[in-house]
Symmetry: C2
Subunit: 506 residues, 2 copies
């Protein structure tokens, strides 16, 4: 199997794939060239990564200096040559080409410069969709109803007939909260009861009863965004929250499983029960104190919080608890939605009794928004509203993305690559038990835990030097978030390089 920057391996045929390797000495840095893999889904992809400088390289460092004069840049890793990036490969300004298993924090469904997306803008009608941005809530274009139906609703979670478009994940969750509060108050007040004068006037000064002290229950380790409402349901890292005022909303424990799952079945079932009991306790407690829990928001896999999974049974029970207490069951699929788990929506893996009430999306879906049951749509206009209400230019891109997903059967590609990746991670954690544990996930939405934060950060950095762009999540996990065009040959390269890095770990 192909190895990069690793030893004196000569060209070899492995798994039916020809890997040619050349060394380009440039200081202590090497470059590798693979012969094109004919089955790549994106024409023009290189056959492997090539690293020419340390990363960030000198040009990235220079640009960082420039940008630091005008922005906070502590999070910048490198500067990208988007012109030269292609498919699964991200090219930086120093001429390095990395296999990207992080894909812009999991937001690129088809990798870089996918020809089908570039082609979209050959069409002058589509160019106009970019230039003439409407206030969709007031002046939608002639094609908007058809597009919402044929694009967004065509891939809607089963049972959710309504959709609201937004711009990003945080906005989507915040506005979905508003839908939930409006729905909850309608059920309290009675369907056709009008607002009281007291409600109308008190809300104008942020006071009850017009601005009621309703709450949304969220989970420890959750990430639902960073605007002030969404941030009150985010509990992944203190640096996201410190110094920012928050709503006093209830928080319950999310299951922390022992791995491998099959060896800890009864402990993990007990963990589910513990967390679900906590959910009920919190709801009861907050309802009692007049901060009624209008909804429960949950990720199908906690992503930023460390790729924490919970069992289908946990989600089934959680939905039943929501029904019992009259709370909306809100599944945040901003990171899991759009295919990376091998299904369009991760909650499809859970065999729920009935559809969730609300499912939000963004990232791979190109624009933000949320699906919901009809009963969650407010009766009055202007309650969930803003100037743009999404962006037809992004829906256009999503249309292109979804047609490629269908044509190229990308959900099957994800399932196949995911299986290879996960099995590879199982092998690696067996091979390096002092370094890795708890390989987990669905599809290519995968993670593995490292035995310390320092080790995790070190591995992610050294992977980069081997031509792999990955990312961290939680305290000590590495997350794998490739594009949907990530194939088994890409998985092989990743696993090879990862093994090499682990071997070199002291």
């Amino acid at each position: 199997m192909a190895q990069l920057c690793g030893g004196g391996v000569t060209p070899a045929i492995n798994f039916g794939r020809l890997c040619l390797k050349q060394w380009w000495k440039s200081g202590s840095i090497c470059q590798n060239i693979y012969i094109r893999n004919v089955s790549s889904l994106v024409v023009g992809e290189p056959d492997g990564p090539s690293v020419k400088t340390s990363i960030p390289g000198p040009k990235s460092k220079q640009l960082l200096d420039e940008l630091s004069a005008i922005q906070q840049t502590g999070s910048v890793q490198l500067f990208v040559d988007y012109d030269r990036s292609i498919g699964n490969y991200i090219a930086d300004v120093d001429g390095n080409v990395l296999l990207d298993v992080y894909t812009q924090i999991s937001s690129l469904p088809l990798g870089y410069n996918h020809p089908d997306l570039l082609k979209l803008l050959d069409n002058p009608f589509n160019v106009k969709a970019i230039v003439n941005r409407p206030a969709l809530g007031v002046f939608p274009g002639s094609d908007w109803p058809k597009k919402v139906k044929n694009i967004l609703l065509d891939v809607a979670p089963k049972g959710l007939s309504h959709v609201t478009t937004m711009m990003c994940g945080s906005c989507s969750n915040e506005n979905a909260f508003k839908n939930i509060f409006i729905w909850y108050r309608k059920t309290q007040r009675g369907e056709n009861i009008d607002f009281t004068e007291d409600e109308r006037s008190s809300c104008m000064i942020n006071q009850s009863p017009g601005s009621p002290p309703l709450s949304i229950l969220s989970f420890k380790g959750a990430f639902h965004g960073r605007t002030l409402g969404a941030l009150s349901t985010t509990h992944s890292k203190y640096i996201h929250k410190i110094d920012v005022p928050a709503f006093d909303w209830p928080i319950a424990s999310f299951p922390e499983y022992k791995y491998p799952l099959e060896e800890h079945k009864s402990e993990n079932e007990a963990e589910d029960r513990r967390c679900l009991a906590e959910v009920e306790d919190r709801i009861t407690e907050y309802n009692k104190h007049g901060k009624n829990v209008a909804g429960v928001i949950v990720e199908p896999i906690q992503a930023e919080g460390g790729d924490n999974a919970a069992s289908p049974e946990f989600f089934q029970q959680l939905q039943r608890i929501c029904k019992k207490y009259g709370c909306a069951f809100f599944v945040d699929e901003v990171q899991t939605g759009g295919g990376p788990t091998g299904k369009m929506w991760c909650h499809e893996h859970f065999n729920l009794d009935s559809p969730p009430d609300i499912v939000s999306f963004s990232k791979k879906m190109q624009l933000g928004g949320y699906y919901m049951k009809e009963e969650f749509s407010p009766s009055q206009p202007y309650r969930v509203f803003n100037t743009w209400m999404g962006d037809p230019g992004k829906l256009l891109l999503l249309q292109g993305v979804l047609s490629v997903i269908k044509r190229d059967s990308l959900l099957s590609v994800v399932q196949k690559s995911g299986e290879k990746l996960l099995n590879g991670l199982y092998d690696l954690q067996k091979e390096f038990p002092a370094l890795l544990f708890a390989a987990r996930g669905r599809g290519t939405f995968l993670a593995i835990s490292c035995t310390s934060t320092k080790l995790r950060d070190d591995l992610v950095n050294r992977l980069k030097q081997k031509g792999i762009q990955s990312g961290g999540c939680g305290e000590y996990s590495i997350r794998i978030r490739p594009a949907l065009i990530f194939q088994t040959q890409h998985a092989e390269i990743f696993l090879d390089q990862f093994r090499q890095v682990l071997r070199e770990t002291k």
Copy 2:
């Protein structure tokens, strides 16, 4: 002067402009054709509106039925044929062409299908900026530092050296609040003092001291967005706020002037003093109760709240009060920014002692964001952050917009058209004192009050039937928000049609 749909006026030369009129009877509806005005800034613009059906017409109504099955559509006015809209004219799906003085809730700087913007996407490099959307906070493109500098900072308010890009107005304000809270706590804590363990752990469960009960002061009638933090500073209409939880943050009165201003000088000065005293009272009160006021957010002209203006002296004093109490002075230019007041930023009209601390933008600027003083930039990364952090595709459009603003001297166009419009409104309120009063504004950012809400709604509707797309704001005002390419000949058409509608008012 040209008149549409109004009487038996024959073609006439007025103000040096030839207006030809023809009637196309279609039931009781008429169509008008003007000969092209040679000096239009956008080639291909018609010379006047033409109305063929009642609005919304039958095709708009049919599309509304379709969309209502999947979205809340109570706010939709008509469906637009964006393909056929051009310059200052919006075409609907029923073949009506309206002069647009509302421009997608004031968000279109160059009207529809501006050739310079369409041309941008002939360039394959620019197409890639649309398709390869980066996570800008981590993997910015090679051209990002230069673009931020040459585009965004080139038009920055004087004295503000840093900029953060976002997606929309609400997100911009919410994230600016976070910058303010972080800055405020830094000044309380001391520059290089690290967070305590108590702060780190308490913020994870939304509790003090990590999530401190800091506040942002806002004004009655203000509109700063609709996500939960921003909504806590919005006080324009109850329907925006009712049933949604809010932070208990202080609210002060915004001046309500008597018009005409020159006749009520001393009363209005007293009104300034009353409101400013209230600001000081609120700050003192909230500080005393441990809900320290970290910042004050204010619109240079309250837009959604009814186009409420305040004097330069009011803003000068307000900034001094912020200095006195150590609050950030935050000017929200989401609607006023980008040129419509005849200056790039409306607060440039105020002759402030020093630059505001933060200025937010969106709408005409194509993407959201905020400028700030360097001291407001957080020392640590990931505190103000999200996946996309703006959108290079929108910055590209802004680049096109700003270069047309410069080339075509659009700020001068705005000043000239604004003068004509405002003088025309003064004439109309003299002519129809039982219907209109308080014509006001800066540049083409103008409004006039109607003597009742019912009359306002009626006038806006009938203006539409005369070929003018306008909008309401506050309880009883009509707001005028044309694009920056709105010229004096467009102002004439608007004023003619408005006069006609007023004449027909019983």
